[in-house]
Subunit: 239 residues, 2 copies
DNA sequence: ATTTGTATAAAACATCTGTTTGACTCGTGT
DNA sequence: ACACGAGTCAAACAGATGTTTTATACAAAT
């Protein structure tokens, strides 16, 4: 009895109306008129990030978005449809971070590529506008919903392959070398550790994601990792 | 509407009977008689680790343990009471790992202390009998239940402080130095990355937790980290 | 033999869950 | 003027959920 799969994307009768988007929705008379649909997206992003897909109720989302209970089913087919759309924006944001890191590293020596990658990744991870999206993704890691597969292919794999390329360049091995993969895991894991989490908070790790603190952390990770990678490179290659 | 707090440990009428434990429960007549209580503990440990506190239903647990729906409330007061007890065994296991790591490092130079710590931690993390317990804990990191505080104090803090001591010895700083704390985070994050997770699985990271693979991974983490720590130690100390 | 305490079981309870329904309000196109 | 579709709403639905109740079986103590 896991996360309740709805195989077909748009399940029921209605909710296909929104096929006709872009025909100037214009404003309607009802008071505020802030496009209920986008309010639902915005509100649910935060709620899903805070507590996960299953632990957030549609009633809660709708209350927070000042919308009717039926709004989610009307606009997104069902709860999973809404979640899918929220996670798609997360995927896009992550891909944008990937591309930015790639661009920043172009023409640079591998050491500098790694430094810039870590910094940009960390900025993307902790920048206030993206932080909820990344927490969302972190949730998928522990409680995969049917959306995870698409996300891994579109976001994680390109990122890991890029990192593997850098590391391979640094230690002079194939990107599929076990040593390379372990180094990639080491770099990546250090980065995501800086996502806010309740245990760190209880330990008194008061890491404030200000630009300068983020740079500091990025410098640490890059320096730590470059030394680590070089050390690994000095050892004999394995199968 | 989070995980449903039950402030008092043993909430209702019954379930305090088990105060009188140890008076030889003996066996009763009903067929198998395998101590329903311990069956519930065993079964729910796996279920909670797989899907988290909230996503597992008491009916499911009871079905898997071949017990009545009321069994949980009878033996543990309520669902959270069962969870609390399961997590207590996890805490104990983790503390045992801590102690083992400490003993193994006694009288060793700090480099060797770190190597042994990482190995023992990883063994504890991935040994088949403890693996579910650690996944359980990993869940608390993302979705804290009321049980988290006790766990952090009893397990995580001693461990982090021990690691901080080693690192401080290596780079010659105070255990509260920012550089030290960042190194601790680096070491710890690399270790927990080796817990099985769906994203790694989808990426084709087929890490089998055999003893030799675990040793391999521990060697990597220790070597990588020692080089990293030394590099950090070469830099000027910060506030 | 009776009482007492422990353990189990089936059924019921109250609440919460995602979803659906049917009515109603508008603007727009004819 | 009219029909139509888009969007919203209150109410209801069916199923799941944690918990409680009531009844019963049994062993040990009295």
């Amino acid at each position: 009895m896991t996360t309740r799969v709805a195989v077909s994307a748009e399940p029921r009768a209605r909710a296909r109306r929104r096929a006709s988007r872009g025909t100037a929705p214009a404003s309607r008379s009802t008071g505020d008129d802030q496009e209920t649909r986008s309010r639902l997206l915005k509100v649910s992003e935060r709620l899903f990030a805070d507590r996960g897909f299953k632990d957030v109720t549609v009633r809660e989302i709708c209350r927070a978005a000042r919308a009717n209970v039926a709004a989610i089913n009307y606009h997104f087919g069902d709860k999973l449809g809404l979640y899918r759309e929220v996670l798609q924006t997360a995927t896009d944001a992550m891909r944008a971070t990937n591309d930015a890191a790639r661009r920043a590293g172009q023409g640079q020596p591998p050491e500098e590529k790694l430094r810039r990658y870590v910094l940009i990744f960390l900025q993307g991870l902790l920048a206030s506008n993206y932080e909820t999206l990344h927490r969302l993704i972190h949730r998928e890691m522990n409680d995969p919903t049917p959306v995870l597969d698409a996300f891994v292919e579109q976001s994680v794999r390109p990122r890991v392959e890029y990192l593997a390329g850098i590391v391979a360049e640094l230690i002079g091995g194939k990107p599929t070398d076990q040593r390379v993969l372990r180094c990639v895991a080491s770099v990546h894991s250090q980065s995501i550790t800086y996502l806010p989490n309740p245990i760190a908070a209880r330990l008194g790790f008061h890491f404030k994601p200000t630009p300068s603190q983020i740079e500091e952390a990025a410098r640490h990770i890059a320096g730590f990792s470059l030394a680590g990678i070089r050390a690994v490179g000095r050892k004999k290659s394995e199968v």
